[in-house]
Symmetry: C2
Subunit: 275 residues, 2 copies
DNA sequence: AGGAACTGTCCGATATATCGGACAGACGTC
DNA sequence: GACGTCTGTCCGATATATCGGACAGTTCCT
């Protein structure tokens, strides 16, 4: 009886970190779920939705009874964790921002990365990102859109297939070819425009990135951007994160080289903190 | 039977936004609390605690049974909302950062303020903060510690008595004298070092700040810092936030004037977004 | 005007999450 | 080596949170 409306939305922007334990969008029909699981599902839904949602839409999205969602959301609003927005919508609230800031502050690498990202963006005017793996996906953890924010390719906390990114070619450096192919879901080799990446090429690019100590890709996510990434390496030699520029593809080679120098300097500095 | 240990800790860094509805630290002894209320209390406790806490300490801190806290915390860790840290401690996790970033992105004023704060900090090298009221307290919403991060006076999301701050003198501009005195708790006029602020002086300073369109205070939070604040004003003329510099008290007057010019420019730009 | 789809609120029943207590093991101190 | 305090795990009982359904009011179609 329960329509699975909006399933598409959630699928498209899959997140993977906070999905309800076993159920895709909700407990088995008739089953009763715990409040905490409902809350986690509501967070995941709002994050995937990317903008305020009305309570009815949330209830449908997570497959929970409306009455339950009203109850929980109102309690979360009271706590400042969610916030009512215009037109009946609800989205994340101030408390989330405070707790998120606590997280960043508590991780030395992130705290420093935030400074580096802001500094590079200000100095060079380009978009700078600090990226990591999130399960078997890639995600932007920190970003500064720079001055000429011509286009936002990806946003904080939104997961993206690893092969779509320059950083992805660095972040898998510690894995063997077999491990890599087992790790990445088949469908992640398909780009947004339908093109399919060749796995042999991909493996070769990972190898090359590891030898050079950086990676550059063009026209993967879209036709007009180039992504340049440098690795942040921990004490064991493993690439734990990357710092990268997102620039227009027609950026002159000399400028790209200068930007890469700046990236490598920052990455080395971050690597010291990560050790 | 239940010791109220750590009560002091929570008191000292009172937060005010996410405290469990009625109970100070937990439900009445013997009573049974909802999972969601426990979760909210756990968040508030960790935020007040300012660093990873062990589960036993959390249980004591929020006045909940250990078995319940284990259950809830493990579920939250699974969802990436909390994260295990070294030595058995637990603190906020990646998901919190992602959701917090969603919040900032969804509020136009905050998104722009983040850019302004980073830009001013980079350009001037001083600590810049974007501040707001949180109930009847003051709190830093955004901060960039600048280059010479000589000392962190306050951190994101930590509430501070309004009279302690330069911003506080601007943020109450829309209230009458009676309203202000009714709004601020008696104890908030006592500074950290025990000095008591005179209410008449305080009201006069608010009036002066409103007429000048900025506020400057020295030696309030500690002896060595000066705080300079400029108001962000919405369409109705109300001060909805401030942007401010935190500098050493011995900063030359000419430099302070130049910094204030930069603040006022940013504040005017933000005011346009806030309207 | 009628209908469809929404919102926000209330209610009683029952499946179950929370709780208290017990357990073994780890750690440090005296 | 005995003691106190901690951890992580398990369990059964029962107070109760979740659920389904109903309600009136609103909006937006046609």
């Amino acid at each position: 009886m329960r329509r699975d409306a909006r399933g598409k939305v959630l699928d498209g922007v899959s997140d993977g970190i906070a999905a309800p334990a076993a159920a895709p969008y909700g407990a088995a029909p008739g089953g009763r779920a715990r409040g905490i699981d409902r809350v986690i599902a509501i967070f995941a839904f709002l994050h995937a939705h990317r903008e305020p949602a009305r309570i009815g839409a949330i209830a449908r999205g997570v497959g929970a009874p409306r009455s339950t969602v009203y109850e929980l959301v109102n309690r979360l609003i009271e706590a400042g964790i969610l916030e009512p927005r215009g037109d009946g919508g609800v989205y994340f609230g101030r408390a989330m921002h405070y707790y998120g800031a606590d997280y960043v502050r508590s991780v030395a690498l992130l705290e420093q990365a935030q400074k580096e990202v802001a500094h590079l963006a200000e100095e060079c005017g380009e978009t700078v990102q600090f990226c990591r793996l999130e399960g078997n996906k890639y995600t932007v953890v920190l970003m500064d859109a720079g001055r000429r924010t011509f286009k936002i390719t990806s946003e904080i906390g939104v997961t993206v297939p690893i092969p779509w990114t320059a950083s992805g070619r660095l972040l898998l450096g510690h894995m063997s070819a077999e491990e890599i192919l087992a790790f990445i879901p088949e469908e992640d080799f398909v780009l947004a425009d339908g093109r399919v990446l060749d796995k042999t090429d991909f493996l070769a690019e990972i190898d090359e990135a590891g030898r050079h100590g950086y990676a550059v890709t063009s026209g993967l996510v879209d036709d007009f951007t180039t992504c340049m990434a440098a690795p942040v390496i921990d004490g064991t030699g493993r690439v734990v994160a990357t710092i990268c520029f997102v620039v227009t593809r027609n950026t002159p080679t000399e400028r790209q080289e200068r930007l890469m120098e700046r990236l490598l300097t920052s990455a080395r500095s971050l690597s010291r903190t990560a050790s």
